[in-house]
Amino acid sequence: MRIILLTVKRDLLLYFRKPGDIFNPLAFSLLVISLFPLGVGPSADILGEISAGIIWVAALLTTLFSIDLMFKEDYEDGTLEQMILGREPLLLVVYGKIIAQWLVGGLVITLLSPLLGMMFYVNTDGILATVLALMLATPTMTLIGSIGAALTLGLNKGGVLIAILILPLYLPVLILGVAMIDTATAGDNYAGHVLWLAAILAISIGFAPLATEQGIRISLSE
């Protein structure tokens, strides 16, 4: 357990010393979202209809852009080799890195989502559901994304390949999440969506880091 905490602490420290890695993808996504009301026009009907999808695409893009860097620097400066060779299990280190990545990526976009919701005239029920859905889905996105990041480590054009590899895996989360927000906005009960998202999250927590760990070993063996 100690090594998980230490890894989280180390990665957060590195992110804070180089905030661009986190801030740039976030700023890009927020800018893209804010273009929609300008481009589509300020009609509450249209914006309300497309809001859920846009917020989710923003969350996906933020995750995708930042996940690329998750192991890259550790790979290039050789600290990843130390993580593999050290006595502490690589799996726990991977968990730590995923938690840190989520704290600066997924959690931030979740906390910002009410603001985005208001921009798109989403009602209070819808905003609550958005926060809840993102809270459950962004960790899943980071977990699944870490597999792609590990597998594309040694490749130069990793970024695009990650998108092709893992975007299809995001589809269930995307469909459930958007449906959940729409249901909530309409005032209906969305407990089923919550349970499904939570179930996917539970499975991802259990299995994704295992795949990530193996991915790192394979990439390092090149």
């Binding site: 090594i3 050789g78 080799e81 502490e88 063996s221």
Partner: protein, 193 residues
């Protein structure tokens, strides 16, 4: 004790070595040398367990978890020398006090740089910080890839003393180096293709 049997490895359709067999017992250093591209780094990475594409057996007995220092020094540019070493110890399952970390850095004459980010150090200074691990960690097996690169003569002397101490306490060392090293109990292995 390290035992290697019939080790063969091919990279990019070129055979680096075939049916390589050797033994390194406790208290002995093995220096691997050979021309550029002869497979020294690949052999060291195989021994460390980082490279899997080979045939044959590598048996470390009970001594897995080697301390490996390769071309990539394993230092974060954005972290200070102290933070880097502390992390190295932690990932190695070793609980370390900061005073021990500082002492290790003093041993490699980097005592005045504990709080300096490794990114703003010179190549040689980074080399010293990364070698400070040899003074901090307790692994019985060391695998060092060109440890003398970019290090000045006093650094080399300091390193040689540390290695001899490691060997006399029953440690194992495998290193690659282009230069002759004045070590006690030295075995040599030349790679040629």
């Amino acid at each position: 004790m390290l035992q290697v049997n019939n080790l063969s490895c091919e990279r990019a359709n070129r055979e680096l070595f075939r049916n390589l067999s050797f033994e390194v017992s406790r208290g002995v250093a093995l220096r691997i040398h050979g021309l550029n591209g002869s497979g020294k780094t690949t052999l060291l990475r195989i021994l460390a367990g980082l490279y899997q594409e080979f045939e044959g057996d590598v048996d470390w007995g009970e001594e897995h978890y080697p301390l490996y220092i390769g071309h990539r020094r394993g230092l974060k540019a954005l972290m200070s020398a102290r933070e880097n070493l502390f992390w190295s110890a932690a990932i190695n399952g070793q609980k370390t006090k900061l005073s021990e970390v500082d002492e290790a850095l003093r041993q490699v004459s980097m005592g005045g740089y504990v709080d300096i980010a490794c990114g703003s150090m010179s190549e040689g200074q980074c080399g010293r910080v990364s070698l400070a691990r040899l003074f901090l960690l307790h692994n019985p097996v060391w695998i060092l890839d060109e440890p003398f690169n970019a290090i000045d003569s006093t650094g080399v002397q300091c390193l040689v003393e540390r290695i001899n101490k490691h060997l006399s306490s029953g440690g194992i060392l495998v290193l690659s180096s282009h230069v002759e090293v004045p070590l006690t109990n030295l075995q040599e292995l030349e790679l040629r293709y």
